[in-house]
Symmetry: C2
Subunit: 129 residues, 2 copies
DNA sequence: ATAGATGCAAAGGTTTTGCATAACT
DNA sequence: AGTTATGCAAAACCTTTGCATCTAT
């Protein structure tokens, strides 16, 4: 199966344009409102379809990537996670966190850092064989 | 307003027990199925309520923490994000990523790392005044 | 005794999809 | 022309919530 050839419709173009013109990491809904100012009859479905297409094309990143539902972990120490893109498994990574980074980030934004979450994505031992 | 006193019901106890006995970072649904084996008439609502309570108590971590909807970013280079716990704003952090870590994680799990996502949580300049 | 928790079912909010029509290339 | 995208509306999906009842403290 080959991937479809992509067309640059005015909707898709505008959606990308809106995303490129902001640093606010908007939600689909915000993009919808924004694009509607120029293409009033665009539908939310088109927004979502295009966000997915643009992500597949590597033009944009989706934060909260991957799953639509939450996962829970009874190990509440800060630690890294690894998610396999093939089998979906989520596992702990036994490495110490670089705590210095928290301070650097706090300085950088001029605020306070309470905690952080780092997730690695790739292929697990089993799936990368 | 004071926070309510928590009771350790058999439902809450069992849910925590199930979470502590696995390293699979389960979803609410999986926990539901698991707990149902011993408390057949437990409801999904109770699972969700308790997962939230246990998180507030600091007993467990919720991955994909924070928002129910996705945010999109047209800057597809890997970079850090910071989310303000007060105002909900998400911003980019202008710091270089420590790329060495990817290799360390790959070695640690015996697989491959494609990319990673790091999100810092805390209070932004405005909100931490 | 009483605040807090449960079960059930209905509602909520976000994202996806089926289908007929329209528009790129 | 033929494939890909759109608009609309309905459905799907995960999570939350209202309410009457029950229970831990």
């Amino acid at each position: 199966m080959k991937s479809p050839q992509r067309r640059m419709t005015k909707q898709r173009k505008k959606i990308l344009e809106v995303l490129k013109s902001t640093r606010s990491h908007p939600t689909a809904d915000w993009v919808y409102d924004e694009v509607k100012k120029e293409i009033p009859n665009i539908s939310l479905g088109t927004i979502y379809r295009n966000l997915n297409v643009l992500r597949e094309m590597g033009e944009i990143i989706e934060l909260n990537y991957g799953s639509s539902y939450s996962r829970y972990d009874a190990n509440s120490d800060d630690h890294y996670h690894f998610t396999c893109l093939e089998c979906g498994q989520v596992m702990d990574v036994d490495l110490d966190m670089d705590r210095e980074l928290d301070g650097e980030v706090a300085d950088c934004i001029g605020g306070e850092v309470s905690y952080r979450r780092t997730e690695f994505f790739g292929y697990c031992a089993e799936c990368s064989k």
